[in-house]
Symmetry: C2
Subunit: 362 residues, 2 copies
């Protein structure tokens, strides 16, 4: 297990007087051990005692896969006829009084069994230290996100050749998700969004049977899930000739996107980034049509910390990865959003998405 992550969890246990941490969210088990699995209804848990060696508990049928992937080498298993809580009991420090768990993931069913069968009296939430750790991506994590970005940009490149008048939004979604799999990802990291014409003005619209038509703004918002990490990109295109108004909002959104990216460096507040993009759009006269925050953190989840909005006074630190996605949505006319993924470096920013942003006419 990564020494740095282990020592952060140990400091947390000291502070909270917790005897151990139990992690059961598969994503967090992956984060801490390198073993990525979905145990479905079976029990999966990583026990990290305040003193002593971590223990990974997996269903028996996952044993070989866990041994191959996990940096935690003490692996205990349970078969379908064994009670996993007895295996857990053995892995926990004897006489444990206080356990740190993921309270927004752990179910009441598991909680009650820990109280009844394991006699644990007190629980504390371990999610905040995990969130703080996950904020700063390691070089390995950055490299996985970079690859997920490369795949989604190739999907976009190949997918665009399939756009033609008469194809529906839903057809394009099927084409794009097909390409995601063909290009080696595990699939979409969220519901792929293809919105055209007036639909593109709905920031949370659903792709449907509307056909893509000449004169439409055409918005793609999509990402893939690859080796446990995600990408998330939005580009907006013109289908044939678009009018001056449509060009004007495209131009304003592009300038907002570029202005915000230029400000990304350690020490700047998240609020400042939102404000920088918003100022550009307000000056262009479309301020009231930029109706959402500038962006969101991403990594193993498509939405994680930090939230990039005008009230977030937290400062950027190197290792953060988040989206920058200003948009203008003119009801009845159409919408434009241009979204990039950025990685905060020691001196500034690495742009993880590089697909061209000049207005492209299909």
């Amino acid at each position: 297990m990564d020494v740095n992550r282990l020592s952060q969890l140990r400091s947390f246990m000291e502070e909270q007087k917790a005897d151990a941490v139990l992690v059961t969210l598969p994503m967090h088990v992956y984060y801490l051990t390198g073993f990525n699995t979905n145990p479905h209804e079976r029990f999966l848990g990583l026990v990290i005692p305040r003193d002593g060696e971590p223990v990974l508990i997996v269903p028996a049928l996952d044993k070989d896969a866990a041994m191959a992937a996990s940096s935690v080498t003490n692996i205990q298993t349970h078969s379908d006829t064994q009670n996993p809580y007895q295996v857990l009991k053995q892995a926990l420090p004897a006489g444990i009084a206080k356990l740190a768990v993921e309270k927004s993931h752990l179910t009441m069913q598991i909680y009650e069994r820990m109280v009844d069968e394991l006699d644990i009296a007190a629980f504390v939430d371990v999610e905040e230290p995990l969130r703080q750790m996950r904020l700063k991506k390691s070089p390995e994590e950055a490299s996985k996100i970079r690859k997920a970005c490369e795949v989604i940009e190739e999907v976009l490149r190949q997918g665009l050749s399939r756009v033609k008048a008469g194809v529906t939004e839903a057809d394009m979604v099927a084409e794009l998700e097909y390409l995601m799999k063909k290009l080696g990802s595990q699939g979409p990291s969220f519901s792929t969004m293809v919105l055209s014409g007036a639909n593109s003005a709905l920031p949370h619209g659903k792709p449907g049977t509307k056909k893509i038509e000449h004169g439409d703004l055409l918005l793609f918002d999509m990402g893939v899930y690859l080796n446990g990490y995600v990408s998330d990109i939005t580009r907006t295109f013109a289908v044939g000739d678009i009018n001056e108004r449509q060009k004007e909002i495209y131009d304003a959104v592009l300038r907002a996107n570029l202005a915000a990216i230029k400000e990304v460096r350690p020490g700047v507040t998240l609020a400042h980034l939102d404000q920088t993009a918003r100022d550009v759009i307000v000056e262009s006269g479309y301020g009231e049509y930029f109706t959402h925050r500038l962006g969101h953190g991403m990594g193993m989840d498509v939405h994680e910390y930090p939230s990039v909005h005008g009230a977030n006074q937290d400062k950027l630190v190197s290792g953060m990865v988040f989206t920058i996605e200003p948009g203008i949505y003119l009801p009845g006319v159409g919408g434009v959003r241009i979204e990039d993924d950025v990685f905060v470096t020691d001196n500034g920013v690495e742009l993880l998405t590089s697909y061209p942003k000049e207005l492209q006419i299909l």
Copy 2:
């Protein structure tokens, strides 16, 4: 809300002396109200008091959709700046002492807020009565499953035309999942399985870069999610000429499948169905290679009650829907599984999947 379901929940509350039921699993909210949504991190809850009118609590942005779809007409909302637990408090009976909840879904975080902010002292698990209700599908539910079966059979029909030597298993998965979306479903109801040659002998194998070759057994196991309900079908094909051994196991599995289906009618035990299929395979000499239960219930989930295995002495009742999927897996040689979805009627069985089962050579 369906009168029959409501009265079953009320009897449960009487028995358990619970003052109300709180349902938060989106699938169960859909089952009880007709409103199908994914609230992500926002609060969604259906309150059913022992006496009085049910209340549906939804995020404000879902209000219109809930009003259009929900049979529970008392709809309360909460915006992102409101505390949903205060809305919940208003919806619960005053002075509530005991609440029935879904213990395998409700998180410790929500549990603690209900104890701290709502002063609820006792909880009981409502999952058993919900499971019992869900066992018997209504005509509307059967009709939704029928449609999901129709779509997956059309996917199979169209997908087969794309099989040729040299195509990889993973390519075929991408093709099939593309067709699922093109044909109007929400997508796969579980990870689509395409396994060929020796891989087909792995009942839980993962489709990979293996190319489909002449002489392979080729196994497809897949389903779609449509309007909240699933389908699940397996067919095995011959790619060009296969040998006598492969034909022999195909024949045994087909006879086992047909024999079990013939026994489906109210009053028969689930164990009897498993035994009927197993007897055929044992007699054929391949008993040790039929390594799993005969089938599983399905409906809103791809795995739900009942479990069709040799120790389940529960009796079939009309309205049950489950799979019948015998298989033989010969290591190194290949595997055959033939899976149908069946609906138990008042007098016997309706076969929900009708794709031909005679050995088809591609």
